[in-house]
């Protein structure tokens, strides 16, 4: 029995929709990508267990309460700009690391916004931040 080849049209696969899907995915990735770099400052907080009383005598202390920033042993109330000016006057970057330590003594109810601004001023003027770890009573 003779077999006849049928004259069929070639099966053409329409791939134009692939490009549409792919470009939709690209748009998704572009929209979900963050191009914004974070702002801030790196801090090295010394982790040493120093004697608190000794450190307070030797190093500069900045006290922070919900209403005021107090500078030095006398606890003179200063604004953020005054604090920056005083720390700049001390020329901390030229000093030895031990003399650059600024102890930040903060009240428990101080909000992070106020704390952050003071920390950034200390950091930008060359100070090395030291925190007071309140050990719970045993």
């Amino acid at each position: 029995m003779p077999l006849h080849r049928r004259n069929r049209a070639m099966a053409a696969l329409d791939v134009s929709a692939f490009a549409d899907i792919a470009f939709l995915l690209i748009i998704f990735f572009i929209l979900t990508t963050t191009f914004v770099r974070p702002a801030g400052a790196p801090l090295e907080i010394p982790a040493g267990a120093e004697d608190k009383k000794q450190s307070e005598k030797k190093n500069l202390t900045v006290s922070l309460s919900p209403t005021a920033i107090r500078y030095g042993e006398k606890g003179e109330a200063v604004t953020l700009d005054e604090l920056r000016a005083r720390l700049l006057k001390r020329d901390l970057p030229r000093r030895a690391e031990a003399d650059r330590i600024v102890i930040l003594d903060s009240a428990p109810t101080v909000k992070y916004q106020a704390y952050y601004e003071v920390v950034m001023v200390i950091n930008s003027t060359g100070g090395v931040l030291a925190l007071i770890d309140e050990e719970p009573d045993r």
Partner: protein, 133 residues
């Protein structure tokens, strides 16, 4: 004058290569994208004048507006933060940890976080928004 319509084949634009190009672009974006680990965490960053733009760090810690703590996008407690950060920093080239805290948190809430990161030997990158004068 009689114009005759010429019998031309319809012009076919080969669009198969478009898909190839698009998928190459997708692969590029997938490989270069840093997905935000804490996209679901609600936090209002503090503002300060004395900050600059800096590079991202591989390890991130976030304290949200409710005081919840997130390490690498997973919720954790202060007690396990030090060990968690030490483990996350293993194999990392730097000791840098990005720390983002909600601006309304109080010192009694975030102080243990700072102490834990300090004890873990991390260089803390405190992030915030730049305030213009």
């Amino acid at each position: 004058m009689i114009r005759r319509r010429s019998h031309r084949m319809p012009a076919l634009v080969p669009v198969a290569a478009m898909g190839d190009i698009a998928f190459l672009l997708i692969i590029f974006f997938v490989l270069t994208t840093n997905f935000i680990k804490e996209g679901h965490v609600r936090v209002e960053p503090p503002r300060a004048v004395d900050i600059e733009q800096m590079d991202e760090s591989p390890v991130s810690v976030v304290m949200d507006e409710d005081g919840n703590l997130w390490l690498q996008g997973a919720q954790c407690s202060v007690e396990i933060l030090q060990n968690g950060v030490e483990a996350a920093l293993q194999g990392s080239k730097t000791r840098e940890v990005m720390l983002k805290i909600d601006r309304n948190m109080q010192e009694q809430d975030f102080q243990p976080v700072l102490m834990a990161l300090s004890k873990a030997g991390a260089t803390i990158k405190l992030t915030g928004d730049k305030r213009r004068n």
